[in-house]
């Protein structure tokens, strides 16, 4: 019996976290966020692709590493810890899982190996499936898709977009299709891409199993939620580390502020609330692969609970930094904003808790 990340997963995590710490200083994040240094972003992206994060969840038969979701969680924690400015949750988790579960043999063969070779990149837009805002929503008739998808993630250089209609039918559209109009959306978190798609009579390549089994779209969603929870957990962990070490150095009233009980207790509260989240998250990821009957509830609860804890951490850690926490100088706000965006992606806490109740049959 071993409850936790395996040695290999720990290594994955530590590598990602260290890679970002070493290669992505706050100055560099700033340049990437402002769009000033696209080359740098590409370089970082390349470095992490070299590690194989793209191949992680692709089955071995298609050339991937065939790892489980917990391995992806280990990576996501590292990306959150270093506000990794690259695609992951959509492109390398939700897309391969969707293709593998819902794709035809031909589709799997074609696309999964292209994910491994990184020839083909996928943006993912399930927001309308989760909760449609404004006049968004996609109408799928035969092999034609029309409508609007908001908040597509990982789509900046995408060759294809993985989308879903309200019924959970998953399909791909080619980014080069004439009917696809792409608009960039700017969120608070500029380290990740965020798009709006307008589809006019676009050819939709349906992943056939998703038509037969609406549980597949839910499963893809679970995976995405677990990954965003992992990202927020990693970001929270970093914010606490930064707050604690700032409090040990910063002096006011002839003392390091970390010797004031108020500051100490804020740090203790953050750490105490975050600590059980690791196990919660890992259990959800483990269940995703090994105890599917428990996975949905655990994924929902992990996403909503960790989002709440992370919000608290993002506020308190900023407060511990005092005025410096509010400036751009330390760049602490990149973590704050990362947590802020993750919180809303694929459903905010209230909506997900409604789902958690539904899963347990609590809603009439």
């Amino acid at each position: 019996m071993f409850f936790g990340l395996s040695e290999e997963q720990e290594q994955f995590h530590d590598y990602v976290k260290k890679f970002l710490t070493d290669n992505v200083t706050v100055d560099e994040i700033r340049k990437i966020a402002s769009g000033e240094d696209v080359a740098l972003q590409q370089e970082i992206y390349g470095g992490l692709i070299n590690l194989g994060i793209n191949a992680l969840l692709v089955p071995e038969e298609h050339g991937g590493l065939g790892a489980d979701l917990l391995s992806a969680v280990a990576v996501a924690q590292g990306l959150g810890a270093g506000v990794g400015p690259i695609p992951f949750a959509g492109a390398y988790v939700m897309a391969p899982i969707a293709l593998n579960l819902a794709g035809s043999e031909a589709q799997k063969k074609k696309y999964l190996s292209q994910i491994v070779s990184n020839e083909t990149k996928f943006g993912v837009g399930l927001s309308e499936y989760v909760a449609a805002r404004e006049d968004a929503g996609i109408d799928l008739s035969g092999d034609k898709a029309n409508g609007k998808a908001l908040f597509v993630i990982d789509g900046d250089e995408a060759d294809y977009f993985l989308l879903a209609n309200k019924g959970g039918v998953l399909f791909l559209v080619d980014a080069k299709d004439q009917g696809v109009e792409v608009t960039k959306l700017t969120s608070v978190d500029k380290t990740r891409s965020y798009l709006e798609l307008t589809l006019k009579n676009v050819i939709a390549e349906v992943l056939p199993e998703s038509e037969k089994n609406p549980e597949i779209a839910k499963k893809v969603l679970d995976a995405g939620r677990i990954i965003f929870a992992a990202d927020s957990l990693g970001a929270s962990e970093s914010m606490i580390e930064k707050a604690v070490s700032y409090a040990k150095e910063r002096k006011q009233f002839n003392r390091v502020i970390g010797s004031f009980q108020a500051v100490k207790h804020m740090c203790a509260e953050m750490a105490s609330d975050l600590e059980p989240c690791y196990a919660m998250l890992w259990q959800a990821a483990h269940s995703f692969d090994h105890s599917p009957e428990e996975a949905r509830l655990q994924a929902c609860q992990a996403k909503s609970h960790i989002s709440e804890v992370a919000k608290m951490v993002s506020k308190k850690a900023t407060e511990v930094h005092g005025g410096m926490g509010f400036t751009d100088l330390l760049g602490l706000h990149y973590w704050f904003k990362r947590i802020g965006l993750n919180r809303q992606l694929l459903g905010g806490p209230e909506l997900i808790r409604e789902e958690a109740a539904e899963i347990q049959g609590f809603n009439q």
């Binding site: 927001s127 909760a131 449609a132 805002r133 404004e134 908001l150 908040f151 959306l185 700017t186 969120s187 608070v188 978190d189 965020y194 709006e196 002096k251 006011q252 009233f253 002839n254 003392r255 390091v256 502020i257 010797s259 004031f260 108020a262 500051v263 919000k311 506020k315 900023t318 407060e319 005092g322 005025g323 926490g325 509010f326 400036t327 751009d328 100088l329 602490l332 706000h333 704050f336 904003k337 802020g340 965006l341 919180r343 809303q344 992606l345 459903g347 905010g348 806490p349 209230e350 909506l351 808790r353 409604e354």
Partner: protein, 415 residues
């Protein structure tokens, strides 16, 4: 309990209403130092289509002439020359807000420097500075905090030495808003290095054109609001630019500091924001369901509404205590900054949550609600939770001065 202001005030209200009617739709010829988010902060909606144009300075003069601002400031210094009357102030604020007519200028010159000079300044200083400040022709910034003197402001190190009848200033200030637009700074500097921490500080007025001043913009987490760092390298100003005596700077600063703390989170602005949020929750939908019909959002909304209602009623009680000398609400005044900033931060966070992914949008998008101001204000009020005496410091003050609890034992050596 008597919520009526009386006949005199009813008449006054009519005057104000008539004025507002006359000037409805007034707008400003563009001047530089407007903050694009100032409306979100004050909770008001922007009146974008304007009928009449005046300059900020002209508008100030009109308002002073009517006694709507600078009411209790003597005529000889450019004020209206009347009596302080906070009920009239409230009526003015309410009616202007209703009619969406812009109020008088705020800023650290008018809110802080003018009352300071009235209390501590020499006749020459009053003559020289108050009128142009009131007229909006002399903008001031505040030089208090330093990188190593934040919560512990009294440990500030910027030094001023009196050399040949001039103060020669060296050091650095931080969190100086509007420094780049200001003609003048009022500044706390250490003039008596031998004296104890608090007794070594003086209050000095510095023209921002003086050679040796360097202003560096300090970008904050909103990437919008304008703070600065200000560096002094042998900045030289005349000896008479000191306000009060050498070593009295701490007392001078404290005499108006309380005022700033209270004004950081105006309950009326918070109520306006709540109403904006409610309207938005009635309009926006998720899967066709109105946001306000989602029970868990609605319950959070009701919780916030309860707090906002309490805050607003509380501000009336504070008002009452100012005009009814017997009423003691000492603690009531002290909590305003703590409670107000936390509440506002919570409210803006709720707005982001109900908007979900739309709530994460920022800067520029057709889907932005209220110009993306919820995200801006969510962060800005986190800044205010920290700034102006962090809320941890506020809790020290409330427990010590409000509840009479003992101070923490002093520590002399750094640990």
């Amino acid at each position: 309990m008597d919520l009526n202001y009386g006949a005199e005030y009813d008449d006054f209200r009519k005057d104000v209403q008539a004025f507002c009617k006359e000037y409805q739709g007034v707008s400003f010829k563009s001047e530089s130092n407007d903050n694009e988010m100032s409306d979100a902060l004050s909770g008001s909606s922007v009146n974008k289509k304007a009928a009449k144009e005046v300059t900020r300075s002209e508008w100030q003069k009109i308002l002073i002439e009517k006694g709507f601002i600078a009411r209790a400031i003597p005529k000889e210094y450019g004020g209206y020359g009347g009596e302080t009357d906070i009920i009239k102030s409230r009526i003015i604020a309410t009616e202007f807000s209703k009619a969406k007519v812009p109020g008088g200028m705020g800023g650290q010159g008018i809110d802080m420097l003018v009352p300071t000079l009235l209390e501590w300044g020499t006749e020459e200083q009053k003559q020289q500075y108050i009128r142009p400040t009131l007229h909006g022709e002399m903008i001031w910034c505040q030089g208090y905090s330093e990188p190593n003197a934040g919560s512990d402001l009294a440990s500030l190190q910027t030094k001023a030495e009196l050399i040949d009848g001039n103060w020669v200033i060296n050091g650095q200030k931080i969190w100086t808003s509007t420094a780049q637009y200001s003609q003048m700074m009022f500044c706390l500097v250490r003039t008596e290095p031998e004296a104890s921490k608090h007794a070594g500080i003086s209050f000095i007025l510095i023209p921002m054109e003086t050679p040796g001043i360097e202003i560096r913009p300090l970008v904050d987490m909103t990437l919008k609001a304008g703070f600065n760092e200000v560096f002094f390298d042998d900045v030289t100003v005349p000896e008479e630019n000191i306000v009060a005596k050498r070593g009295e700077g701490w007392s001078v600063a404290n005499s108006v500091l309380g005022h700033e703390r209270g004004s950081l989170a105006d309950p009326n602005a918070t109520m306006n924001r709540l109403n904006t949020l409610i309207n938005m929750m009635k309009e926006q939908t998720i899967d066709g369901r109105r946001l306000i019909d989602i029970p868990s959002y609605r319950d959070r909304l009701m919780q916030v509404q309860g707090k906002v209602m309490a805050s607003q009623a509380h501000s009336l009680r504070l008002l009452s205590s100012k005009i009814n000398p017997g009423q003691n609400v000492k603690l009531g005044g002290m909590i305003q900054k703590l409670v107000g900033t936390e509440l506002r931060h919570e409210l803006e966070g709720l707005a982001i949550d109900v908007l979900g992914e739309i709530g994460t949008l920022y800067e520029d998008s057709p889907y932005l609600k209220e110009d993306g101001s919820f995200q801006f204000t969510y962060m800005y009020f986190l800044g205010l939770i920290i700034g102006g005496g962090t809320n941890q410091i506020q809790k020290n003050i409330i427990s010590e001065r409000g509840l009479g609890m003992p101070k923490e034992p002093k520590v002399t050596e750094a640990s």
